[in-house]
Structures are given as C-alpha cells and as structure tokens.
C-alpha cells in the first residue's frame, strides 16, 4: 500500500427512494491510511451513502471502486477485504462473545484469532458472556471486533459511538485509532463533531445527499474565516437594526441570529469585543450570557446550512 493511494472512490453516486433523492451526485475519495468522516445531520444521506459503498445497496447511478474493484463484478472479493460495522446491528443475544466471533471467522479464509480481536477491543473479561448481557458500549466493541477479524484494509463505521456514554465512546475511538495506526483506512459517518474532529483526517460534510464542504477538519473550519465566535443574548431581544451596526464593527465578519441569540463570526477577537462593548454603551444595550469560543465544525455547519448537526 503506497501512501496517497486512493483505496475507495465514488463518482456521481445517486440513490432515490421513490420521489426522494437520498444521495444526489456524491463524489468521495478515501486515501490509504487515512480516515474520511461523513458528517451531517440525520437524513443527510450518510447511511445510504455508506451502505452503497459497503455493497448493501446498489446505486441508481454512479461508480464505486473499492481497492480498485467494482461491486458489480467482484463483490465476494471486496467483502473479504473490508470490515463493516453497521448502524444498530443486534447480534444473537444467546451466543457468547467468543461464539459470535467464531461464527464470523468461518466466513474468511484468512482471519485473526477470536482472542486476538477480543484483546484488541478490550473484551477479555466478557469472552464467555452472552451478548444479551453486554452493555451498549461492549456490544459496540463486539461489533468492531467482528469487523476487524479479517484484517480489513478498509473499515466502514456507521455512527460507531451513537448512544454511548463518554467513557465507552473513548474506548471505541481508541480501537479505531489503533486500527489506523496499523495502516488501515477508515470511512466513518457521524453526527458528533467531536468524533469527527478526533478521528477524521478528511471530512465531507453532507446535507440533502450532497457534499457541501470538504477538507481536513482544520481546513473546513477555516472556511468560516473566523478566529473565534462570539455569542450573546441582548436583553429585550435582538433587533434587526443592530445587525447592520454589528457588521460595521472592526473584526466582525458575519452576523447571524439563532432565536434570541446573536452569533458573530469574528476575525480579530479583541477588536470585536471592544467594539461590541462600545456599541452597547452607546445604545444602552445590556448583554446576557456573553461567550466566545474557537469556531467548531458545528459553526461551519450552521453557517452553511442554517441547521444544527443534531436537533436536540
């Protein structure tokens, strides 16, 4: 595997369900040894996309090449080379962890030992436990273990940490990082920006089945052109005439409203805050809950789509 080699390429992918276009001309490239994150809100087309790449759904149009192979002609070969963790698979409750892995090993000519992957995901103590007795995090680690059995070149992970508590989430992330460190490539979908920022080398932000931004997390955040984000709630509510005035402040590059809240994209934080306070003094404005933070993927996403990644 040479660095820079493209291990997964999708061109012009389209998938329709009746009148709904779930994936609309999507283009993706996964480079060997890197992790590509598909980030987007529920319904953006992430799962449909990853299921087409995994060979579970046939695209209505477009081309997919996995390790240079085409699903339509080499499905069995591709399946032997990839590891997949689906969103919300339930394994058989009455099989043990070991028995589950033993079953999956039988599908691969060249497989790691069950105990080797059990150790990798840290389930040694649950080796003989029935799947039905595992916690959500342990089940997710078992799912990862089954995906790692065949020494996959590419790991497909569909929302690997959804529904897990922070500690369980970190354990899953550590296993994925170890896989990457061993030279594997990862395709990941998520709607957690921390997950994307921690794991992904490259991002594709999806909305309505299209990529609306791509690049490294840093590069994507930099498209906002802001050093920081300043948020506050004016007492008595935001008034439209403030917006124009806020935009004239030195160091402010964009203004948007989220309900009562005003959010400023700021290129020079200190100048902008000073200008904001001066404005408040002139207009006898009082501010509540003033905060500044470094821009995140969430800010990029909201500025691109007007929506949050998670509607919670």
């Amino acid at each position: 595997m040479t660095t820079g080699e493209v291990v997964l390429r999708a061109r012009g992918l389209v998938k329709r369900f009746g009148a709904v276009v779930a994936v609309d001309g999507l283009e993706l490239e996964l480079v060997a040894g890197r992790c590509l994150g598909l980030l987007g809100p529920n319904g953006a087309g992430k799962t449909t996309t990853i299921e087409m790449l995994e060979g579970l759904k046939a695209p209505d149009a477009g081309e997919i090449h996995v390790l240079g192979l085409d699903w339509r002609t080499s499905a069995a070969q591709i399946r032997a080379l990839i590891g997949v963790q689906l969103q919300a698979t339930e394994f058989q409750d009455k099989l043990t962890v070991f028995e589950t892995l033993r079953l999956f090993r039988a599908f691969y000519a060249d497989s790691r030992g069950a105990d080797e992957v059990i150790a990798w995901v840290g389930l040694e103590e649950k080796r003989g436990a029935r799947v039905g007795t595992l916690s959500g995090g342990q089940k997710q680690r078992l799912a990862l273990a089954t995906a790692l059995l065949n020494r996959p070149r590419i790991l497909f992970l569909d929302e690997p940490s959804t529904g897990l508590d922070p500690q369980a989430r970190r354990r899953v992330w550590e296993t994925i990082e170890a896989f990457k460190a061993s030279g594997g490539s990862v395709l990941l979908t998520t709607h957690y920006m921390e997950e994307a920022e921690r794991l992904a080398d490259d991002l594709a932000i999806l909305d309505h089945g299209k990529v609306i931004a791509r690049g490294s997390p840093r590069a994507v955040i930099d498209t906002l052109g802001a050093e920081s984000v300043v948020e506050f709630t004016p007492v008595g509510g935001a008034r439209p005439e403030h917006e124009a005035e806020l935009l004239t402040l030195s160091g402010v590059s964009a203004v948007r409203h989220e309900g009562e809240r005003v959010v400023l994209s700021v290129t020079r934080t200190q100048d902008a805050i000073a200008g904001l306070f001066a404005l408040c003094a002139r207009r006898k404005l009082e501010l509540e809950d003033l905060r500044t933070h470094r821009p995140t993927l969430e800010d990029v996403f909201v500025s691109l789509t007007g929506k949050h990644l998670r509607d919670e």
Binding site: T89, Q92, K94, A106, F107, Y108
Partner: protein, 346 residues
C-alpha cells in the same frame, strides 16, 4: 471460507440458539409427550366394567347370590335396608337391585335408560337361567384380539405429524424473522458468506432436530404408549424426513418477506390453522363433508399424517404411499423455490 466450515459454523449456531431457548424445547419435546399422555389416558380402553348388582335379604337370597357368583363380571352387594339400597340405585351406584319375593319369583329393579342398567339386567337374567339349568343357544364365540386400534394408536402419528409441522414452521420462521429484524442478516451479508449457506444451515439444523425429535417422541410412543410400528423403520424415517422438509420449505416461505416476529407469527397461524383442524390430527378428516375431502388430502399435514399412519398402523411400504409422499415433495420443492425468489435480504 471453505463452504464446509461456513455451513458447519452456521448450522452449529442455529442448533445452539435453539437449545438455549427453553420455550422452544418445551414445545418441541415436552408438549407433544404431555398431550399424547393426557389424551391417551383420557381415551384409553377401560376393559369390561363389572355390573353392580344389589341384593336385598329375603327368602332364597343365598341361592340367588350363588347363582350370580357364576358371572365374574357381576359385582354383588347385599343389603338389609331397602331404603339404603334404593337410594344407591337412584344414584347409579348400583346398576340393578334384586329383591327375593315370597312367591319365589324375585323382582329386578333397574333404570332401562342407562346402558349399564341394561347390561346388568341381561347378566342377572343369564346367571339365573344357567343356575336353573337352562342352556344358552349354541353359538361359537370368536373374540377379536387386535392391538393398535386404540385411540392413542390413531392419535400418536397425528401428533407426530403436527409436531414436525410446528417445529419446522416456528423454528425456522421465527429464527429468520428474528435475524432480519435484528439486522444480523444484514451484518452477515457484508461478509463473504454465501447466501445459499445461510438457507442450508436452517435446513441442516432442522435435520439435526428431526433426529432428536424422532428419537425422543418415537421411543416414548413405542415403549410407553405401545403404539405399533408395523412398517419398516426406514420407511418411517423417510416419511418423517419428507414431512420435515416440506414444512421447512413452508416455514422459510412464510418468513421470506416478514419484517417482524408479529407478522411472521400471524402468517404462521393462518397457514397452520386449517391443518390443525382439517388434517386429521385428533379425529379422522373423513368426518368432514365428502366434497371437502379431496382438498383436505392436498394439505401437507394431511399427507404426512396419512403416510405416518400408513407406516405405523397399516404397515404400508413406501410404494403404497406414493400419493401422500408426492404431495409432500411438491409442497417442499415449490415453497422452497418460491421462498428463494421472493426472500427479503434487508
């Protein structure tokens, strides 16, 4: 990735999962035994019930008692108090009441509407005739000693057939609907597993259970209930195998599209209900209207029950069972082929 190992592991898992389902084990192995035991006991042949004859004290009572003692099926109870004896007769604790009279002609009181009363009357009169030296009309008696004509002998092959149907349908249908609902099926599909191995594992696991089922139920039927097997063991095994195969196919077909356990169990009941009633499990389907019978005979459970009863009770060879076996084979092949075509993989 060899076919053999993949198939072995898939089948092994199916067998393990079934053995770990206590309810399934109960319905397959315990329930039919309990049902056979209870029904066999309730409808057992009871032998000849003795005629309960009351005899009041009076002149010549001892001679009457001696005369009645010649019939081993007469149970004699002597009374001093008439009121007590009449009360027992009224409550059917006695079948007849014999009372000696001063004129030497005893009086026999009985309820002419009860078969037991009529039977006791005939026995008492014959005993008294014999005691007085009057011979019965000359008839040569030829008692028939046929085992295998009890209700349990009819019932047991039917229960076995019903069990082969239930195990195949529930065992396979539920398991398929369950792996689909869990998306476990989808997870299997992203491995290089061959789809045919997935189906074959259900069939093979079914075959493993068939051996257990036949061993447990068959030995219970033969040794505890005394149900005969007049045909060959090989014929019995082949009929069972064809029956199990037909219902495995129908089970897969029933679960071919269903997304939920509820959907599949509803469908199964719709499929099995007509056969529970119409396929002659508990009573002969010949009791249904004649016009209906050709249709009933086409049902797979009817064919299986006919073939099982043929082998067990009539000692039929396989060639004599061509019609029911052909019906079973057709059901099996058609349902399996259709299931493969319409199966929902996602």
């Amino acid at each position: 990735m060899s076919r053999g190992r993949e198939l072995y592991e898939l089948t092994r898992v199916r067998v393990l999962l079934f053995l770990r389902e206590p309810e399934a084990l109960f319905w397959v192995f315990v329930f039919p035994l309990v049902l056979a035991g209870v029904l066999g006991f309730a409808f057992r042949s009871k032998g000849i019930e003795p005629a309960r004859v009351g005899l009041l004290e009076g002149p010549g009572a001892d001679e009457l008692a001696r005369a009645l003692a010649s019939d081993e099926h007469v149970e004699l109870v002597r009374f001093v108090a008439r009121a007590e004896a009449e009360k027992k007769l009224a409550r059917a604790a006695l079948d007849v009441l014999l009372e000696p009279q001063a004129d030497g002609v005893p009086q026999l009181a009985y309820d002419a509407h009860r078969p037991e009363g009529e039977n006791a009357r005939v026995r008492v009169l014959r005993a008294l005739d014999l005691a007085q030296g009057r011979a019965a009309a000359p008839v040569t008696l030829a008692p028939v000693e046929e085992t295998g004509s009890r209700y349990i002998d009819f019932l047991f092959p039917g229960l076995l057939g019903m069990n082969l149907m239930g195990t195949g349908m529930w065992g396979i249908g539920f398991a398929i609907a369950d792996v689909r609902r869990r998306k476990f099926l989808k997870r299997l599909l992203v491995t290089p597993m061959r789809r045919s191995s997935f189906f074959l594992s259900f069939i093979l696991a079914r075959a493993v259970f068939l051996v257990l089922e036949l061993a447990v139920l068959g030995s219970f039927g033969a040794w505890i209930l005394g149900v005969p097997l007049r045909g060959s063991v090989a014929a019995f095994a082949l009929v069972s195998l064809l029956g199990a195969g037909a219902f495995a196919g129908i089970g897969i077909l029933t679960a071919a599209r269903a997304r939920t356990i509820e959907a599949v169990s509803g469908l199964m009941n719709v499929v099995m209900m007509p056969m529970w009633l119409g396929s002659g499990v508990f009573f002969s389907y010949e009791r249904f209207p004649v016009a209906l019978q050709p249709l009933l005979k086409l049902l797979p459970l009817t064919a299986l029950n006919d073939a099982l009863r043929g082998v067990c009770l009539d000692g039929s060879a396989l060639v004599e069972l061509t019609a029911p076996l052909a019906i079973l084979l057709t059901w099996g092949v058609l349902s399996f082929a259709l299931a493969l075509r319409i199966f929902r993989w996602e």
